[in-house]
Amino acid sequence: MEGLSVADANLLMYLHPSKSRNVSQSILRELGSLPFKFNETFDGVLLAYDVNILDKQAKILSGVHPYFGLRLKANLLLFSPKPDMLLEGKVVKLSQESIHVIVLGFSSAIITAENIHGEFKYRTKDKEELFASKSHKRHVIKVGTMI
């Protein structure tokens, strides 16, 4: 699937002095707030990370609150879909107007009627909604299909 990438990142994390008692826990907590949100710096959504502290020494910033800066090296799994990329997802809902898909288990996507290929016709078969291909009888999109 396009859009997924692994990246190496050199990060600089600033921690409040109160976190100095348990630094590794604080780092994990800070990083833990990042996933599943779009991140400008990474230009994508962070999915997973693996982090190492580079240096035991950290520089203390001067100022009202003496934050200290930690150098980290991280391995990041990023998802940055761009237009015209091919993505894969599971269908969760079908209606005449739209197909609802979930990509990578966390991202919801919608294909509206005008974007559905003309080849597919909406049908209701045995109370089940589906899109059936006009050319290939077996080719059917219904809830649970990966598309």
């Binding site: 809902k93 107007e97 739209s98 979930i102 288990g105 919801s108 009627a113």
Partner: protein
Amino acid sequence: MGLELPKYPEMEEDQVFNFTDSEIVSHVKQALASVLSGDNNSYNQLVGVMHHSKHLAPDEVALLETTLKALAGAVSSIDITHHDSLLSAIFCMSMWNYGPHVADALAELIVSLAISNGKYLDLCLGMLVSNFTPPPYFLDKLKMPHGLERKGKVLSRVHAAFKKIADYVPLAPLRLLTIVLQGMPTIYHKDRAIVIYVENMLKLESGEIGELVGSTILMAVVDRLIELDVEIGWDAILQDDFSKGIFEMELEDVDDIEESAEPDVGEFRLSRKSLAGNSIAELLDNLLVLTFEHLESCEREGRLAKVFETLLQSFRVTVLSAYKSKFAQFVMFYACALDPENCGMRFATMLADLFVQDSQPQPTRMSAVSYLASYLSRAKFLAASSISSMLKGLVDWCLEYCEAHDADINPNAHRVFYSGCQAIMYVLCFRMKVFVDVPRLKSELLIPLEQVLKHKLNPLKVCLPSVVEEFLRQAKAASLFTVCKTFIFDGLLESELSRAFGGLERLDTFFPFDPCLLKKCDSFIRPMFVFWSMVKPAYDDAFDDDDDDDGSSDDDLVQDFVNENEDIMNDEFGKSFDEQGVDMDEFDYALKKMSITPKATSNYKFGGRFQEPARMPSRIRPSTSPESL
């Protein structure tokens, strides 16, 4: 002029219409699309239908339902800028105003809208959250049966909608959490919406998306409880007159107090009366009851252990650090009561661990041990072995401290130590019976304790005089040990030295699990609570020779302790009180059998059940404020 209804095609009054759903949907789509080209007529009619909500005739109801359903099918045609008046009309609708069919249609529309486009997600979730609370006119009807019915119907639809949205948009619960927390009514809302809002929050916690949002929600609820708690000043509770004696009836007698004579000037009145008119107290009471009921349902579902972890963390972060929380801590008490072996012990161990950690700040450690002492004394459901093991831990720590600090009496320097000693003595005042008759416990616990109390640091002189006095009296009667110096306290509640070790926060007079002053709460807590009047102090045995034989469960207890088998001891201790506690009449009777000499200094004539005054302050009052020092 009346409302002009949208003109669906071929609508004539005598005809029965039979449009297919898709025809109606396409009509609505047309109306929506026409806005873009400037023709607003049919669109405005649509908006008009949305706004028309009160006193609907049946055909108007049908129209509304049809329109909502059609909109649900046409969500892809809704544009956030061009159709903003329609959207705002939809988001202002309250399910409380409508019957089941319209409510269903509205819920369906909201769900469709939410999943159709990320732009609408927050707005839709926000609309659903605003349906947590009924419109102002409905609030009074909530107590009535039809109001309750409506509430059940609305809330079930709202929560079902959350689940549906979460199914199609996996990250929706995260957004929902933010919106729910932001939307929490403040405690100053006059319409008391917070009670039903919290009910919804707890419903979310136990619902299908509970795993994702539950712990944050619980912590937010506890935060709100503490907010209310701190709004109730200590002065609302106590009106003290320290020159009087410290005799104070326990809260179980309060009902009698309310019937008795008018308050004399200078005599103190028990707090529940002055809390009676306090609306914040009432609010807190209702919220605590909601929380208790929620905990009960958690227990039934077998989730209590997990929920308890969240509560424990919340307690550490919020309740423990609040200055002398008054009632919020009873949430922990109740949770522990529902599961004494796991949760009950977990709570005690957490407090004990906090106390012994040098890295914790002093007030935290002193607070923790005050909570522990009050908890061990008041929890009816704790097994004797648990209490003794906790006490042993405390005694061992104090002994170690004594051995490490070869110093003279100094309240300021050894605050944590003195609070530990006071905690031990306080618990023993309530639980002396547990230890007296078991020789093993006597040697394990009481011999080291004697060493601690007789050390140079002199805790007997520094700790709260009322506690020390009662402890010594009981210890003497039980022939535990004798103290060579006599301590004359004259029934003083506190002393210079105790104030010194208590510090500005007055942690020397902090007994957090003293009887709960909130009425509804108290009825939940009461069956599992040890009131001072239930404790039979060792020195009363001397007067009791003629009376004690059959029936008094305290005697049963003593018998059981003499048994070797500790398991039996644990069970019986727990059980007999429970059995006793259930039937108040029997309990009454058992108590009356204990002939405790009434003291002449009692100024009160109460028509109540318990004639004997407490010899030890069953509820020790803290001073009203640090500034008074």
